[in-house]
Symmetry: C2
Subunit: 203 residues, 2 copies
């Protein structure tokens, strides 16, 4: 009875609005089934170079729909949403900051990821520069100078690179992407299915 | 009170497994809200040439996931599903057959679309050749010779071309795609949202 269930692995890119929408629901879905969630920022740009895919927002017709659909989904969920003027975000600094913080405090690292997503997609702020990321982190009591130095550390840079490579090796070709006991689910629209999967043990 | 509500426009490509999955639910969702559905086969290949997108099944990693995800979605819905050996389908003959039949009998045209989807994605049969389409139509009592001649008529060929062009002009960049009072929804995974949209009048 006391067997520890494997955490759900949540791969996301801060540049993805669907990742933001999924990030607001995944912990709750997991908790309903006594699961925790491991949050793993990755670089979708690196993956797209490999697969030949393009960011949705750059595709004719689809980019326009994406803006409409994400705003509609956010209203459906009742969550704040502002399409950032600066798009798409280069998420390298934000992602490194999360991995740097994880070395010291995993809970704080998750809180920073939530705060970054909120600032970028909830409020539309540009989170590309290290200083913008440090400003968000400061609201959580994280020392800005330590963060700015931390995201330059070779092991932190290497960690983000490795997580992205591991994701690719595990079949992650888009984001948000979820691994539930190695079962792959792609897209924010799979959360209800994940909920049923966890409730039933799969089908 | 007796105002006729506009039908839901359902754009689909016979080559798309998600179109098949959506086709098994859209009429029921619509009927719950006193709506009918207009079924419109289109050629996604023509649209992809314009937008630069590629069929999912041809994308590295994503193609493999697609096979896994579609089969899992079908089991979730409890519907028959067989990945066809011949992929992707060229849906020109099947699509023309639907429009040819619509001239004579709209109800039969919809029944043919259902039967084609079932034969191709439910049973995995190759539906590319006109004779394969005619064989499916024959099970509905449709004369094979008349169908084979009908899909060669210039106005039928032109109809399929025009429907695809109209779809593009209306912002359709993928399939399945739904227009609900001009509100665009893309993807089989939007059906629950469409259900809520119809129930609430939108948000």
């Amino acid at each position: 009875m006391a067997t520890q269930k494997a955490p759900i692995e949540f791969y996301f890119d801060f540049a993805s609005p669907y990742g933001y929408l999924a990030s607001l629901r995944i912990d709750e879905v997991a908790a309903r089934h006594d699961r925790t969630v491991v949050w793993r920022p990755i670089l979708l740009g690196v993956i797209f170079k490999l697969t030949g895919m393009k960011a949705n927002v750059h595709q004719p017709l689809r980019g326009e729909y994406l803006r409409h659909d994400t705003a509609r989904c956010a209203r459906d969920l009742g969550v704040p949403f502002t399409f950032p003027a600066a798009m798409p975000l280069n998420p390298v600094a934000a992602s490194r900051a999360v991995y740097w913080l994880e070395i010291h405090d995993a809970r704080q690292a998750r809180a920073l990821a939530v705060a970054i997503y909120h600032a970028h997609w909830g409020e539309g702020r540009d989170l590309e520069s290290p200083s913008a990321v440090a400003d968000v982190a400061a609201t959580l009591g994280i020392d800005s100078a330590a963060l700015l130095e931390g995201i330059q550390q070779p092991d932190v840079k290497d960690r983000l690179r490795r997580e992205t490579e591991t994701a690719i090796a595990r079949g992650v070709f888009g984001a948000p992407f979820f691994l539930v006991d190695d079962e792959p689910f792609w897209g924010a629209d799979r959360l209800d299915q994940i909920d049923r999967w966890l409730a039933t043990g799969g089908w």
